[in-house]
Subunit: 261 residues, 4 copies
């Protein structure tokens, strides 16, 4: 089989990845309405080209937070990549290194941030984290990221609560599947998957939370999960150097708008 577009990779992945892991990647929150919207809405966009511009030198180079990139592309943080392939985040970090684009490591990586940094030493690496109930967990992760050469902190701010898909929820409720122990490289010992549901601090606000984190580190901080203009302004106000417009892949709250909308 030949791979010429994203759908080709998706179809092959559906064959190769173990069913339970595939379900984890495939489904979004509840009915996956927003997961579907995320790709459908691209179909509604129209390219209307200008003719006879000089396009012999096509230069997609850009610079983000001072980093020079060959194209305006970066890998968003993706949890538990090792569930799809044993090399997991080591492999995706190396791919980003090779392409020269930004790699953002999820704090729920299968490999520790130090292992990933060692695997892709010259990649432009950012580190994603949450503000935990116990803020010292967040602080320790950031210190380790600074030490390991990560260049920015991406704080996910759209998940005060999490929600899983109806298909997965049905299997938990029916008892046919037990909350599994997922290897989480950045924490000591295995973490049961329902642990995650509780560690996020849902009382955090712009000033009592994100601002604290901005002041904690000299690394630039990027707020991920913004869907409203007013929240982009909030991010600037508390000192963030960037935002990521995102609906978390439709995995946290169903029926949010498509990212491209």
């Amino acid at each position: 089989m030949a791979f010429v577009c994203l759908k080709d990779y998706e179809e092959k992945a559906a064959e190769l990845v173990p069913p339970d892991s595939w379900n984890y990647f495939k489904y979004g929150a509840c009915e996956s309405t927003t997961v579907d919207l995320n790709s459908q809405c691209y179909k509604k966009l129209r390219l209307v080209p200008h003719c006879l511009r000089d396009v012999s030198r096509q230069d997609l180079c850009t610079s983000v937070l001072g980093f020079d990139l060959p194209m305006p592309v970066g890998l968003s943080p993706t949890g538990s990549v090792h569930m799809a392939h044993p090399e997991g985040e080591l492999a995706t970090a190396r791919a980003a290194e090779k392409a020269g684009v930004i790699f953002t490591l999820s704090s729920y990586s299968g490999y520790s941030l130090e292992e990933v940094a060692a695997a892709a030493p010259s990649a432009i690496k950012w580190f994603q984290c949450y503000i935990y109930e116990d803020r010292s967990i967040t602080e320790k992760l950031i210190r380790r990221a600074e030490e390991a050469g990560y260049k920015a902190i991406v704080v996910t701010i759209d998940s005060p609560k999490t929600r899983t898909s109806y298909p997965v929820m049905r299997r938990f409720v029916s008892g046919s599947v037990k909350p599994s122990s997922v290897r989480i490289g950045n924490f000591e010992g295995p973490l049961s998957s329902d642990y995650r549901l509780h560690v996020h601090n849902s009382s955090r606000t712009w000033d009592d939370g994100l601002k604290w984190l901005v002041e904690l580190t000299n690394l630039p901080v990027i707020a991920k999960g913004i869907l409203r203009a007013e929240d982009a302004l909030n991010a600037i106000r508390v000192g963030c150097q960037g935002i990521l417009v995102s609906n978390h892949g439709g995995r946290i709250l169903d029926t949010t708008p498509a990212t491209v909308e």
Copy 2:
């Protein structure tokens, strides 16, 4: 099977409820266009969350007509619930009692309003009724509801005439089904189902009808079935203390807008 969303319950009900009863619940007026719209239109709504608000204390408490509720939810009046399950309205009233939400008993309940009141003594119970041709029927029902501890009267005002679904209509017309005798707990003796078609008083107006009822009782009166702003104002004018925006589940008149519209 596990139940994680409304559709799961609906699918199970389709298996458990006897086919004739299920048809009664399933179909709306004529072609069920509005029944379908009622759920489809929710899919078009988009949630656009605000980030980093303090959501650690999620309080859905509200107060309706002076009653404190743990969440803004109430059970709308549903006729003939006993056709779906032998315990019928006794069971739904108990469920509402347990959840602390409002229970509205249909006058076409399988159990009498007194039986339901006895089954769920501490539920917040409202009573739904129509303005009958013979107003003394309405008055007697309201007196009984007052006596039995119902706290508000919900008057359905959108059904001067009723209409059934095409599938059900075809079976009546073809003679393969006779109008059945449905047990109606609030009336003496069984009531043939076509009786209902005639008892509603289609000559009633805001002033010669609803106003009369408002003055008849000290209980708050709520007008159910409003689809136009001007009718909301009419309800206020004649002394109602609330309205229920409703298309009667698409069961009375097909091609009305979805409730959420």
Copy 3:
């Protein structure tokens, strides 16, 4: 089988009517885009009822051109009804007579206008015709209609040229079907179906055509086939007493708007 809506009759007709005749009724011009639109567009309309109006006396009576009708309904002219049932226009005229609504006879009726008049003597009968190349044909038809007690003349003005459906066209082109001789009650001898394609006068205009016809008769003249406001005004200007908004059932020109639009 029971008949509770139009679709039920349509499905039964598809069984009973001979296939060739059914194709004649079923298909519109070219791809039947407008035929489909004509019914689909009704689905988009929404009824938004007013509550608590006095509807105990439902009076649909109206008056059209001085004729009192029990409801605002009339039968549009339909050609070759005898192809669907041997009694054809005799039966539909009798049905209209019984219901008290307007019956409009197509000039391409299977029965002569005199036969139809005799079959339904007290029906409110209108007569539909075209302005033919040879105007004396039109004049003779109108004189006969006047004599036979028809009360208005409906002039179809949307068919300077006719077009058939692609499925029917394919069968003619392939030679598997010969243009048939259809019995046309109002003309002497059988009329071959391709005759019709030529008799209409495509040079007629409002002033040199419809105005001539208006002046020819004391009967009120109604212009059928209007889709533009300016043409409604034209009809008034030349002395018509009514218009019929119509796309000819989508049978003459495909991709015109739905009538209800």
Copy 4:
């Protein structure tokens, strides 16, 4: 089988044309989104006729660049027509000659422009070409076209880069198909199909490219591939005598708007 609309011809062609050639004609760029849009968008247009205009003389005659045409129709340049039928462009040129409409020969014709001119001597022939990296190729083609009696030059300006369909791309990538040698009548020797990818000059602009070509020839020059009003103005500015609004059949860039939009 009878042929009464374009779809009939398309379906027959799908049977007759060898599969590889058919794929070449059938698919557009990437996912063929714009190929589908090109026909779907016609379905959304509505014809709203005026009644009672004199249409007895239907005259579709028009004049384009001084040429009298019986109808406003012309054949757009289509590459490799000989892949669909051995007579290829000779046959399509003869058909245009017979109908009296414009025939535009693609420079990627299976037959040389001289052969086509000889086959249809009295057709109104235009010649399509690109501005090649090596401008002398373009110049030679234009001189030959002038000599052979072509009456206008159509310059395709929307393809600085080309892109094939995903289905075709997959077959190339998988190695199951080798870039084929397509006979190209206007060039010496066979031209490998990937040659085409490189010859177009993507550095050409309105002033350094199209203007050069306009000044090169006394024939009128028409810019093909315009989708923006500003580019129509650019074409006029550099001396073009016409434009062709086109998305290249959706074959160069996917998700451009439908031509009729």
